[in-house]
Subunit: 430 residues, 2 copies
Amino acid sequence: MKSIHIGIIGFGTVGAGVAETLLNNGDIIAKRTGYHAVLKRIADLDTVTDRGVKLPEGMLVSDAMQIIDDPEIDVVVELIGGTTIAATFIQKALERGKHVVTANKALLATQGKKLFAIAREHHVDIAFEASVGGGIPCLKALREGLAANRIKCILGILNGTCNYILTRMESERTDFEVILKAAQEAGYAEANPSLDVDGFDTAHKAAILASLAYGHWFTASDVLTQGIRNVTLDDIQFAADMGFRIKLLAVIKELNGRVQLQVRPSLVPVTSLLGNVNGVFNAVWIQGDVVGNTMYYGRGAGRQATASAVVADILDAGFHILDHSPARPLGIDDDDAMETVSPDESYSRHYIRLQIADRPGVLAKVSGVLGDCGISISTATQKEAQAAYTQMILITHQARESAVRKAMEILDTLPEVHEKPVVFCIETLE
Amino acid sequence: MKSIHIGIIGFGTVGAGVAETLLNNGDIIAKRTGYHAVLKRIADLDTVTDRGVKLPEGMLVSDAMQIIDDPEIDVVVELIGGTTIAATFIQKALERGKHVVTANKALLATQGKKLFAIAREHHVDIAFEASVGGGIPCLKALREGLAANRIKCILGILNGTCNYILTRMESERTDFEVILKAAQEAGYAEANPSLDVDGFDTAHKAAILASLAYGHWFTASDVLTQGIRNVTLDDIQFAADMGFRIKLLAVIKELNGRVQLQVRPSLVPVTSLLGNVNGVFNAVWIQGDVVGNTMYYGRGAGRQATASAVVADILDAGFHILDHSPARPLGIDDDDAMETVSPDESYSRHYIRLQIADRPGVLAKVSGVLGDCGISISTATQKEAQAAYTQMILITHQARESAVRKAMEILDTLPEVHEKPVVFCIETLE
C-alpha cells in the first residue's frame, strides 16, 4: 500500500486533534483511501507541554523548517493561526511543491488571493475545509456537491461562541455581559472576545463562502459586519414571544448580479432548522437554483471536530499526490471583480423595537411613519408600561432595507420615541 | 477549454432535470470546473412527450445503444430505474470504459457488489450521490468529508412521501389513509405506495449508507424494515404531548463491531433538528467518533434536486476522465462480511402505548411487569377513558430492546391489556 507523509506545524488544540486522529484512525483511513496517511513530524515552539497525545520519540520538533524542508513530506498542515508567520510558512511550503492544509480563516479572508496564486504557480493546492464550519464538510458541499447550482443565498451560524452566548441568554434569561463572563470562565469565549462577539470571525468565514459561491475574491473588509453586543435580553424574549430566535448570521445573497455580504444578528423562526441550531453548534444554509434549500450542521470548532475536517483535506490531497492529478480548481476568477451591494437594496421582514412614551396616539403616529415609507406592519405588540416609557414591538412584512432605515431616522426624531430604534432583519428561510 | 461528453438514458422527470441543468447552467459549471460538460445525447423509448426542456435537433433518440456505443461519450447517466434493463445498460456502459452515474438505489442495494466489480475491472467508476437523500450531498459528506471518522451512528429521514404523510397527519390531525389518498392525488405518493410507506425505499438507502459507512456490502434484505402504516394519529398526538415527533428513520448503528440496520418509525424530540425536518424534505444525521454529530438536509427527491446531485457526480467523473486519474475507491471490502446485529442487543428509550381496562390497579400491574423486566419508566400518562378502555402512554428510560420485547409479550397476555401494545423507539440524538 502506498503512503503519503504529513507534517503538522502548530501543536495546539487542533494540531493535537489532527495528530491523534491520524494515529488512532489510521486503519479506517487506509481502508477508505487505499493508502497510508503517515504522520511524520510535528513542529511547535513548545515541545514540552503534554497535549494528551502519545507521539513516537523524535516526532515533535521546535523548528517548522524541519517540516517545510523535508523532501519526504507531501502535505504541510498549518495550524498556528494568525496572518504573519503562518503566511510565511505556507508560502515556503507551496514553493517547495507541498500541498498545504489550513484552518486559518483570517489568513484566507485577507491574503487568500495571493496564496492561491503561489499555489497555482507551483502546481499544488491549499485545502481549507476546516476554516468554515469546523468539522462540517460545508465547503466541499458548496464547491463539489452543489457545483451545478447558481447560489441564491447562504445563511450561516458560523461562530460557536456567539451562538453559545445567545442560546444561554435565552435559556437562562440573563444579560449578555453575565453570559459572556460565564462563557469566558468555561473556556467558550476568549479573554478578548471581540473577534467572536463583534462578528469579525464570522465575517472571515462569510468572505470565504462568498468567494467560493460567486467565483470572485471577497475579503473580510467587503463584509458589512455587526456583532451581538447590541442584542438585549428584551429582544431575545420579545422575538421568542413572536416565534423567533435571534442568531448571528452570515448573510450572503445574490441580488441582480451583485452580492449582499453581511454579518448581522437576525431573527429566524423558532420552528426552522437554523432556529434549532443551539449552543456551540454551527450550520450553513445554502440555497441553490437547482437543489433548492439545503443545510449542513455540526460542531464549528474544537479539537476533534476541526481535526475531522483537516484530516479529510489531507486525504483529498493524498489522492492528488499519489495520482499526480491536479487538485480541483478553486473556480475563483482573479481578475474579474464582483461588486457587493448595499443592503439598502435588499428586502426582508423586520423586527423593530421602539421605546415609546406611554400615551394615546403613539401607535397611530408610528404606524403612520412606517406607512408613509411604504412599510406594511404584520404584527404590533405594545408591552405593559413599567415607567413613563413602554416597549413597542413591530414585525413588518417584506420591506426594502432603505425604506426601513429612512423610517427609523424619522421615528428617531419623534418626541414620543425614546432611544434609538432597534431593528433586526428576519430570515424566513423560504 | 477541454470537454467531457455526456449521454443520458431515461428522459423522465429526473432525466429532464439533468438535461435542463446541463443546458442552463453550463456557464457556471465551466467556471467552477474549468471544462465544458457537454450533453451529447438522450435516449428514451418515448421521443414525443414534451418534458419542458428545449433540446437541440436530433439529441433525443429512442435507442440507448446509440449512447452506450458512442465512443465520444465519456459519461453515461442511467435514469430509467428498475433492476433489470438498467443493470444491463450500466454493465454494457462500464464494459465500454464509460463512467456511469445513477440514482438507482434499488439496483445498488441489490446488485451493487456485482456492478462495482465490473466497474473496477474496466477502470471506471459508478457514481450514485442521488441514490440517497436526493439533492443532499450526503454520500460525499460520509465518504469524503468524514473519511477520518469511525461512524458510530446514522439516522436518516430518507423517504419524502413518508415524511410528507407523517407531517400532514400531525398538522391536520387526520388519519393515515386519508392523508395517503390526498398525497396520491397531489402526486406525492405513488398509486401503489408500498415501496414508500412500507419502508422498502428507505431500506434500499439504508443499505447503501451502511455499506459506505462500514466498508462491507449490505443489501436491502439485511435491513429489518417496518413502515409507517401502523403509526396512528393517536400515537402522533400522544408523542407530540410528550415533546416528540414520529419520523420514519433509517437506523444504522455500530454495536460492538456489528451493525444494527433497521428502518422503523421512531420518536425524535420536537426541538431536535430531525424533529424539524418536515414535509417532503430529507435529512441524514451522522455521528462520527472524531467530528461528533453532524446533519445534512435538503430535498430528497424531485426533478431539480435529484438533478443537482446527478450533475455533481458527472462533474466529479469529468475530473477523473480529463486527468486520467482513478476515481476515489469505494472503500468496501468485497470478501469480508460484517454481521448485522439483532436490535435485541440495542438500548434506547421507548414509547409504549397500551389500551387498558379503565379500573384500579392496572398501572401498578403494568409497571410491575416492566420493573420485573428491568425497564425503568420515565413518564406515564393515562388518558381520560372514553369507553371501558383507556390509553396509557409510557416513556421509558434507556432499556434493552430484548427486555422491552419480552415485557410486551407478557403485557399482551394480561386480561387488562386490550390490543397488542404499540412500541416505538426514541432517538434522543445525543
